[in-house]
Symmetry: C2
Subunit: 210 residues, 2 copies
Amino acid sequence: MKLYGYFRSSAAYRVRIALNLKGVAVDHVPVHLMRDEQRRPEFLAKNPQGLAPALELDDGSVLTQSLAIIEYLDTLRPEPRLIPADAVLAAKVRAVALAIACDIHPLHNRRVVGYLERELKQSQAAVDAWIRHWILKGGLEAIEQLIAPAPFCFGSSPTLADVFLIPQMFSARRFAAPLEHLPKLRAVEAACAALPAFAAAHPSRQADAE
Amino acid sequence: MKLYGYFRSSAAYRVRIALNLKGVAVDHVPVHLMRDEQRRPEFLAKNPQGLAPALELDDGSVLTQSLAIIEYLDTLRPEPRLIPADAVLAAKVRAVALAIACDIHPLHNRRVVGYLERELKQSQAAVDAWIRHWILKGGLEAIEQLIAPAPFCFGSSPTLADVFLIPQMFSARRFAAPLEHLPKLRAVEAACAALPAFAAAHPSRQADAE
């Protein structure tokens, strides 16, 4: 399998963690978002959304959307399970992943920040305030109330919630969002950082890191 | 079960369709988003994100995030299946739902439009352009290329993709996004409108409709 990704993409980072937790090796193909490689015809033919990541299977099928890719991996290689077998717990785990995937990350990804800067002529200060607002309000501050670290978001082993939380915490720090008032999230972050599967997926450790 | 929703909320509309397709009856509890009822302490105690919908189970557990709720319903009541058994097809179905849930809807929901208007002092024309841009670019225009209606997004019965697409088409029309160049999406829309489960979930047919 080939993973089309970018070292700093939050969504690609999620997929890298899931692959590492499951011990699935893939070829990593960098798509340089700062050079708009995701808008080139050859990439759009694989993913018409023009977004990373995309997972190309050995038969040429291309899967898109990080959560759909990770659900696929969890079916293909069920151990360790990232989505608990209990249906109510599974819903709570998926809700944390979705709060990040739907309500935080899309509001500060590159295309949206670019629109604020170019089309809406917003200052750097206004863009930074926008990014920090959506990372925290109804975002990480709500997730702080939805989890009960032990030491991972939902118990003694990582789930989909942790797989989504860690890249979002990385982005939060990159954009200097204050996190002092979120002790549960910081505890989960520390627990995950100690696991090789999370550490090896970190943006700074990718071949295309700059 | 109780569904906390709002007639015009795209995310609540998805859950209503799924409940109808599965023949699951719930009590509908309106949360009036225009009166900010989702920010009241009693609702925040159920969903710290302050977003609709939320599904309260009979034991008092509260599930949030429309996709997590629908995945729960698909496990609880597997017929008719909204997520195909085949893992690759399931990933393609989920990817369409996620393209809507992550990359279209959150960019034009009420809290974001409110921020553009109040904090960024954007004109109505600029807000309308923003909304239509994100509905179409990398959004519905990409989804048009990801589906092969027959007559539903992925075959002869509705899946999660249709459940997410129909409320987004409703929003696209509400915000006057041009859809003439998207014949596949319009064909799916027509096929779904003919099914009672979709028709009964329409915003105009809810008790709290205005």
